[in-house]
Subunit: 125 residues, 4 copies
DNA sequence: GTGGTCTAGACCACA
DNA sequence: GTGGTCTAGACCACA
């Protein structure tokens, strides 16, 4: 469901939050779907429960999930959270454009890159 | 010439290296132009000289500048460095596309964003 | 009669006790009225019977209800319990005032809020 | 500066965040004022640095402070964060009014309580 | 079993 | 020195 790159400089808890946000925005996880428990998630990923706990706490603070003590964590149906996330993604994309532009890349070049990358599944590490 | 966002999570030395790379790729700084000394750069930015030193060391390792003992640091005329930098910028842009896609943004939406952002806003946040 | 917010951080048994106390202080439930059985309450709310049991035990310890073995639970006519509950409500209200004050809200602003909220909205979030 | 009630059911990190928010909204701490370091705060309160770290992380996520790695944490000048906090305080106050009302307390009684509590410094534990 | 809080302590990047 | 991340593990309330 979610894969972690343990060598990455991106914190594990960020990779987890990004993973669930992605699964939710893509519609793979729907409102009120249950997430794995903190403990099972931790053991299946081979990491410390505290790290998963931190990721879940962030997701809850951001309104992406809600937690019911003693029951588990669930995908929230808060649309405003989704909207905020999409806005953040747009903002990141814009900053990437500005950065590329300031490095001397041209509009046509970026357009081609955009289409090829979006259609093909070029993976970057 | 180079502005630093002290509150940003991006390390200051990264902001400095990115700044010089940008000035070079845009042609504002040309080969053999002299960079400010470590000390003057540090005092004008109000930061630790060690931080500027680290940025210059990275730029030199990447072939963007070269140092002459007792004289200072200068913009290099190494084209391969420029090419490598553009490739890195492309790679960053691709990753931003993948991220935006996985957050549910569509190709047309991204195209519009690309054109508007490239033409319009010179604002950096 | 009593509604539960399953997403709330307030424990379910607290929501149940608060609900019955409210119904009693408002006079909707009168002394010697019968409460639903633990099992029917649990099944109609879709929660664990242990949770209802805990709520009833707290209400009984506080003198709000009394239990008759084999017969069920009933609203008590103990006035001292009511008085204690009102005192607790007052204390909570005072703490809310202190908190609001320490966050920089002024007396006039709070007065207006008090009047509007008391008269107007019956909405619970 | 900030006092902790170790016996309280309110998490220590919440007491810390509330303390700094209070000091900021009251104007005692001003934008760009430096907070104690995580370590010094922890040792002076006699608690684990992780707990302070958690409080600071929450304050930063809420825009109340900003952290500069290697330098320290500082009061933010983000007005929107302040506005959000005041709104939250208002919302809490409203809920307290609704609760008091549903427990049978009258408007005049609450008004008197409000004035007395606001003026006097009646402390409740 | 499930999430939430906290301690103890290690290691890292950054300034 | 300063904040940030992570592990290991304990204890608690709740269901």
């Amino acid at each position: 469901m979610i894969t972690i790159d343990y060598k990455s400089r991106v914190p594990i808890y960020d990779q987890i939050t990004a993973g669930f946000i992605r699964l939710k925005t893509l519609g793979i996880l729907k409102p009120h779907d249950k997430l794995p428990s903190v403990r099972s998630m931790a053991s299946s990923l081979g990491i410390n429960p505290n790290t998963v706990q931190k990721a879940y706490a962030i997701l809850e603070a951001d309104g992406v999930i809600y937690s019911v003590s003693g029951k588990g964590s669930f995908i929230s149906d808060d649309d405003s959270a989704d909207a905020a996330i999409k806005e953040a993604a747009k903002s990141d994309f814009k900053m990437a454009i500005e950065a590329a532009k300031s490095m001397g890349l041209g509009l046509e070049e970026l357009k081609t890159l955009l289409e090829n990358t979006f259609k093909g599944g070029d993976k970057n590490d």
